[in-house]
């Protein structure tokens, strides 16, 4: 089966500019996650969707980050305006079961963002 797709793979922008990332999860997966991974650190959850509803966005900097999953399938994560500290890899993941933690998450290749 096809894996989690993300685009673009790389993005370089200047601070205060806007950027958007796209994710298409594995078909049939109800839960979609966006993570931020800063160099040398583990992934940090930004937002979790179950179908098209938000389950957890407690760590999303809502003044500049937004995300949507309108039809419960693909998702977009936006940063506006970007700051230098937003330089990171943005990972999208999906899992089949909704509402439980004992299920495997499948990760996409990530988008590497550099903010200059």
């Amino acid at each position: 089966e096809a894996g989690v797709a993300q685009s673009p793979r790389y993005k370089i922008i200047e601070k205060r500019q806007s950027v958007a990332f796209w994710c298409n999860p594995i078909s049939g997966h109800a839960t979609l996650y966006w993570y931020q991974q800063i160099l040398g650190q583990g992934p940090k959850l930004l937002i979790q969707f179950q179908n098209n509803g938000v389950v957890d966005d407690s760590q999303l900097p809502k003044d500049r980050f937004s995300a949507e999953r309108l039809k419960g399938v693909d998702s977009t994560l936006k940063i506006q305006p970007a700051k230098l500290e937003d330089s990171a890899v943005y990972l999208c993941a999906s899992s089949f079961l909704a509402g439980v933690s004992y299920n495997e998450q499948f990760f996409g290749p990530g988008t590497r963002l550099t903010v200059l």
């Binding site: 583990g42 957890d56 004992y102 499948f106």
Partner: protein, 113 residues
């Protein structure tokens, strides 16, 4: 330390040797998972161990879990150069009911051929 903190931060071994990395966490958990990340790529799920399990095997991987000490270990036996990667443990949080996973900062394993 953070929830899901790995130790050591970096490990270098020769091919054929065993590699052991540890993870400590702070809260009550339903399960603990280990993931591998090759350089510049996404994470790959390796193994999940539930809170009522003490040991689990998968191929060359052996995971242990000690909920009384809030710690886990991942053993990779007969390592190969292809095992070179970063390894992360991830946990949920029963105390807060948060089902999303919290990842540690990882152990970077280098296997010398």
């Amino acid at each position: 330390s953070q929830q899901g903190e790995e130790d050591p931060q970096a490990l270098s071994i020769q091919e054929g040797e065993n590699a052991t990395m540890n993870c400590s966490y702070k809260t009550s958990i339903n399960n603990l998972q280990w993931y591998r990340q090759n350089s510049g790529r996404g994470l790959v799920h390796l193994i999940l161990i539930r809170s009522n399990e003490r040991e689990k095997h998968s191929g060359r991987l052996r995971v242990t879990l000690d909920t009384s000490k809030k710690s886990s270990s991942l053993l990779i036996t007969a390592s190969r150069a292809a095992d070179t990667a970063s390894y992360f443990c991830a946990t949920d949080n029963v105390d807060t009911g948060r089902r999303a996973l919290t990842f540690g900062s990882g152990t970077r394993l280098q296997v010398q051929p």
